[in-house]
Symmetry: C2
Subunit: 222 residues, 2 copies
């Protein structure tokens, strides 16, 4: 079997397992977000800020993906989430199989929201469906304003793009409008939010955006 054939087989096996995960999530009635970004864009910091606003209102589960260490899981636990850390060894993305293997260990029955923090990587995770409702790309101002066209797949696949670290804009050369324009060329339906997970600017609007999606999901299920 050639490499291309193996890749196709892996992708179709992943799609099959993602459908299984999606069934489990639907039975539990949870909304699931798969968060994808470069290393250091602020995925975990955004989860901390989000949990600070939601953890006393509802149970939130986090599935943490990393090459190595439990650091991110320790951080989100300290902000009120339950969940589990997946270490991929050298693997550059989570797969539906890895996520499916831990679902039995999660308290999905009492939860309303599940965040999957993918491995820090703007390329590999983009086409791996994990069974989520929303695939989200996080990008940060400090990465430079040329990224969407250089990493087109994830911006094409994600239904929402969140621009983080807007508090640092005064210290950078960064054209927010150029970035939005590139995202919309790659995906005209993409929603775009701007925030700073560190200062909290825009985080309330982000949390409200999630709650609207949660209400929409619940209304389609009843």
């Amino acid at each position: 079997m050639s490499r291309v054939e193996i890749e196709k087989k892996i992708q179709s096996e992943n799609d099959r397992l993602a459908i299984e995960n999606r069934k489990v999530f639907a039975e539990a009635g949870v909304l699931v977000l798969n968060i994808i970004s470069s290393p250091g864009s602020g995925k975990t910091t955004l989860l901390e800020a989000t949990l600070d606003r939601l953890a006393d209102k509802m149970n939130v589960v986090v599935i943490e993906g990393d090459v190595s260490t439990e650091r991110d899981m320790d951080r989100v636990r300290a902000h009120g989430a339950s969940g589990i850390q997946i270490n991929t060894g050298g693997g550059c993305h989570l797969s539906a199989k890895m996520v499916g293997a831990v679902l039995g260990q999660l308290d999905l029955g009492s939860a309303e929201l599940v965040f999957i923090e993918n491995v820090g990587n703007l390329i590999c995770p983009s086409t791996y469906d994990l069974g989520e409702d929303i695939r989200m790309v996080l990008l940060s101002t400090t990465e430079g304003d040329d990224k969407p066209m250089k990493y087109p797949s994830i911006f094409h696949e994600a239904s929402v793009a969140v621009l983080n670290k807007i508090d640092l804009l005064p210290h950078l050369t960064y054209d927010v409008e150029k970035v939005k324009k590139e995202i919309r060329v790659l995906n005209p339906d993409s929603e775009i939010l701007e925030l700073s997970a560190t200062t909290g600017e825009g985080v309330d609007a982000w949390v409200e955006w999630i709650l609207v999606k949660l209400r929409e999901k619940k209304s389609t299920q009843t």
Copy 2:
């Protein structure tokens, strides 16, 4: 053939082709650096600042790796480099084969230095030898000070780590000493440099570091 067997075959084929590339570079008498980082750590900006200090003294060739676009090659050409852009499509790293395929199109005979800017990715490129003399990891202060232990392979493989964006330290919570300590745990022999490619702080020392390596290489060849 299983996926693991295919991966092993790819890696050993890559190692074989890297030896071929290394012969071509040695015959041309050039020093070759393979630069690896996350998207947006400042690889291209550092190359621009480096070329501003070297391009009038010697011919510098740049091999640019990206998923998509010619943007980075356009930028380094404007600062005096010759070279070529490799687009990987969806591929998350350069390979010895991709680099070998373009060597005939480069003016290596008149050059002294070759920079290979790898695809923006802190995971995939770490174990792919391209035939370089020096594998370098670039990290930036805005990515957070927890990265080495979370992405151990590249810090283990790289002989030099360069910390970029030190000009933004006053606006961040970032422990430089903690990062250096983690790098040295992963690789006790790693050299570590600090700079800002934007303000130029530390860039002269970085360029001097390269020139020392170039003189060392030339002295072993004669």
